[in-house]
Every structure is written in C-alpha cells, then in structure tokens.
Symmetry: C2
Subunit: 333 residues, 2 copies
C-alpha cells in the first residue's frame, strides 16, 4: 500500500534466508565471520575480473537455493543488478538458471531497489518467492568508473574502496522471523558534486532526503529504529548526513552506522574513507544484519542503500554526479 | 496475480496517455506522423550525444505531464532505463523532476520491463500513476557498444541501426480505453551467438521462448492477438523467430511484425537489417501502436520487447551474447 509521498507499506513480505560471498580483504575484515563464502584471492576461481564477480553471484544464488530447499520452478523471479556496464555480471550469472529476470540499477543502492521491486511483487500476490541479488568487485568497478587497478594510481583520502562481494536473499510470502515492513523509493538528487573520488559528499544529501521522507511518510521519529544503516557514505559522507539531518531537527547520531565503515577496519586496512559498491550494502545486510536480527541483537533496522549515479562519460562532459538512496525497513518478529 | 510459470495477470491497470520524441531519420520514416516531437538533427538542441538523448527523454516526460494534467505529487514514481552505461540518460533526465525513480535495465527490452514493474505496482495499489520511460540514441549507443559513429566504420548487412528516440507512457489505475491485461517476464537465454553486429540472431530464441511461455501461461493460441510485435529482431531475426515457433507448432507468420522493421523504410533508408534500441520499441509502441488501438485498427496486441544483453568487455573476453524478451499484452476496451 502506498503511504505518504514516496513510501510503501507491505503486508506479509518476509526474508526466508540469505547468502553472501566476499573477496580477500572483506574476509580479513571485522565482519568476516558473517559471510557464507570467503574467496582467498580476487580472481575467485575465474580467469577475469568480470568472471570472478559472476562467480561471487552464482556462489550465493546456488547456496541460497540449497538453504531454502526450493527448486527452479518454485522461485518465481530473480530481481537484481550490479555496477558493471549494462548489469553484465547479473545478466551473465543468471543465464545459467531457468528463472525469469528483472534487471534493476541504482548504483550502490541496487540492493535496496531490488528488495523494493521484489517486495512489491510478493505483496501483491504476483509472486511467492523471489531471489534478490546485487554485487560489486573492486577490480571491475575501478576499471569501469575510474582507472584499471593495474595502473596503481594514487587516490585521495576521500576515495572509497569498492567491496568485492555479493549478497542474495529470498523474499517470500511465507511467514519467517524477519519481515520487510515498509520501504521508501528515492528521488534523484544532484548536489552538484563533480569529484569522482568523493562519492560520500555526492550521496549524503540524497540519503538525508530519503530518511526524512521515510520518517514523515511513516509518521515515525528516528529513534523508532535501533539502527539506521546507510550503504556506503564512508567517513566523509557520514558526518555530512548527520549534520544535514540535524539542521532539520532529526537526530541520528546515536543510531546511525554505514555498511562501508562496518565492513573494513580502517585503522588496519588500507581502504581510504571506507567500503563502497553494490556488494557492500548487500553483503553487510544479508550477512551481518541478518545475523543481528536473528540473534535479537537488533529489532528494527532501516537500511538506506546509497547510490552515486556516476558515469565516466558525463564526468568527461563536466557534469556533476546525481545520487539516489532507497530505504527498506526490516523488523524482527 | 501470478499465472502459469512466468506470467502476471493484471486487474485494473491502464495506459492513460503517452508521448514520443525522435531524431531526423525516424522523422523521415513511415511512422513519422505518429510521433509527438521530431528533432531535425541528431543533437536535439544539445551539445553532446548524451545530452541530446536526455533532451529526448525530458521532452516526452514534459509533454506527458502536460497531456495528463498531473502534478509532480500526483505522479507516484518513474520507472525506466536506457542503453547508456549505468542508465545515465534516465538518471540525469530524471534529476530535474521531484519524482522517485526505479531504474531498470534489460537492454532493448527495457520498455517492456518498465511497463511490467509499473503495472505490478499499480495492480497492487502500491501506486496510482507511474511514468514509464525508455530511450536510445544512435550516436551514444554506437560509441558504447561498438565504435563511435565518427569513425565511419563499415557495417555488415546483419547489423541494425539504433533508433534515436524516446517513448513514455502513464500507467494508471484510472479506467481508460487501453488496458494492460497481462505480462510475461523473460528468462535470460544464451544462444551462443558472438557477433556484435548481429543482434537479431542472438535475440530471436529469447523472443520465441517468451512468446511460447506467454501463450502457455495464459492458455491462448497465437491467433488470440491481432498483432504480436517484437522489439528489434530486424530482417535477420524475424524469419528465425517464425521458424523456431513453427517447429513448436506455433504459427505467427500472419500476425507478427517487428518495431525495427516498421520504423524505417529499408528500401529508401540506409539502416541495414532495420531499427533497434530501447527507444525503438518504446517510440513505436507509445506512438504508432497507441494510435492504432485508439482508432480500433488493433484490439489485442502482444508487445514482445527484445534485448541483447551485450557488453563490450564480455565480447573482448570471447563470451557469447545472452538475450532476454519481456511480453506485455495490451487490449483496447
């Protein structure tokens, strides 16, 4: 049901299970025990970066199908995307399954967009079981958006480090202990930021807009949530987000965190301002957050996946970088 | 409601109105009178190809908002995408509207995917009014998928010519004379085709799969439809599609056509095997087909938008080109 300006309230939409796969740096980070598969090198048993990312996605989907004990025909649809041009990794990964695909893209906010599209299909009895997937790989993303990692170019402290990882979950109409309660679809917001090495500043205004609209639409204060978890604002974007919301009398200082700050240990790991990528929010949400909810350490979580809608050709044409953020409210029953 | 394996049957989902904008070659083609805006040159009042395509999209959205007499706040969401890396044209076009965006991508099948996602949201009372958009531009697509047009590279006869055009429609729960009756979500099918200059051969098997599944799911024969309209199979893909279906005892020889064959006059216009692109199916459907339905010249149309999920990096890695096709059933009431 549509609620308020930009939000949806779902009835009977649950997460049955999830699966995650990550690369070597994420396997050495503070959340390592929460991931299902940890690949010891960036090639992930493949011979190219793109095929490595395809393996991450397929590893998760295979594992999820096994965990949920569903056959191809019981899974209605796959909804997902990635950061590669033309969602290539998702398209190539999915060709090996006999399941229809809805490809989505909103940069690093893809995980939340996929959850919203899937939840809306399940909510309306248009589907019973949907696999949601999103991924990123450090070497595919750097080559595409900036420079190939092999160049070894120096990067400023405001840059984020693209997570090598994939996350999937099964969204279902069968009651489970984790409910997808509501969601807010984001509007594209261009904060006129032009630095391709500072995504945090580009995305923080979009995140603040979505959080504000979500709380207004649902008639909630920020304290309603145990945790408001942005996708990849990093150490640069986090304080900007908190400041913007404070100016609007919304205080999230004590219940905000960022997937990009959780996945790495910035003191010990050389990741600049923190993690980013469509695999960052999905690996952290479907790995760590799912566990926290299951163990009752968190009860109400607002996932706010954040996406810088960057395209190198538009940067060459001196355009700024628009951003978007989609929010999904998860509740432990 | 889910019906059969991969299909949805909608209840109370309509198209209120539509708008289209095209470039110079489309403005000289046989469907010229059905487009709302005809730009006399490829720059479409902009100073780069990407900005030209953004202008095509914004021209249509502005016109659609005017025609439907709706304000920003009455339009719930925009659902759409394009062929540019990272859906850039859609993202940049939409930043100027205060309307939430769900970005989707399935190559030249994007128009149908966007219609399906939007119809499912309206069907479930999650939205009342949604703008659907998709576009392509000859010069942006050629630069991205093959070579910049400025190179003037020779092309084989199997190549298609990317349409410069955009199409939008408003999908609503308010009764109108054109109903979105049902849809079938496609599965990714890889026919192991590797030639980036022959998309028709890559897509025809995916189109045949979706048509077969649609007819089975809905319990219909092919004659149920006045017209089965594929997106951009061209003169190469059309006979392949008809042959594959004939082998499965489905005869569409007399009620099949292809948007890519309708939009140009191949005898007079130098477009090789015909038109293609995400703007091809959307301009033809939201321009010509909408008029044919309104004038009762067509009653039941199955739009089968076809997408080659091609990515140049995967081609360099000697991978084949997977394809997808999504079907949407339109009925004149």
């Amino acid at each position: 049901m549509k609620i308020g300006n930009n939000s949806l309230k779902f009835n009977g939409v649950y997460i049955k299970d999830s699966s995650t796969a990550v690369g070597p740096l994420e396997s050495a980070g503070p959340l390592k025990d929460y991931f299902d598969y940890r690949f010891p090198d960036l090639y992930c048993n493949a011979d190219s970066w793109e095929k490595a990312e395809i393996n991450l996605v397929k590893t998760c989907i295979d594992d999820l199908i096994k965990k949920t004990n569903l056959s191809d025909t019981e899974i209605d649809f796959i909804v997902g995307g990635d950061l590669n041009n033309q969602d290539a990794v998702t398209n190539y990964a999915v060709r090996d399954y006999n399941i229809p695909l809805l490809g989505v893209y909103s940069a690093c906010a893809t995980s939340a967009e996929a959850m919203i599209v899937a939840s809306s299909l399940v909510d309306s009895a248009n589907a019973k079981n949907i696999i949601v997937t999103s991924s990123s790989h450090n070497a595919t993303a750097e080559r595409q958006y900036r420079n190939p990692t092999e160049y070894g170019g120096a990067r400023p402290d405001s840059a984020t480090f693209t997570v090598t990882g994939a996350g999937t979950c099964l969204i279902t109409n069968q009651k489970s202990d984790i409910k997808i309660e509501s969601a807010t679809i984001g509007r594209v917001l261009d904060a006129k930021q032009k630095d391709a090495n500072d995504m945090g500043s580009a995305m923080a205004p979009a995140a603040s807009q979505t959080i504000k609209v979500h709380l207004e639409d649902l008639g909630r204060s920020a304290e309603y949530y145990d945790l408001i978890l942005t996708g990849d604002l990093s150490s640069v974007g986090k304080p900007i987000l908190i400041d913007i919301l404070k100016e609007q009398e919304i205080d999230i200082e004590h219940n905000h965190n960022d997937c990009g700050l959780l996945i790495y240990d910035r003191k010990k790991q050389n990741v600049f301002a923190g993690g980013s990528g469509a695999g960052c929010s999905s690996a952290v949400t479907f790995g760590y957050i799912m566990s926290m909810l299951r163990e009752n350490k968190l009860k109400k979580v607002l996932l706010v996946a954040t996406g810088a809608l960057m395209n190198p050709i538009m940067i060459f044409q001196k355009e700024s970088i628009p951003a978007i953020a989609h929010a999904v409210s998860l509740e432990k029953i």
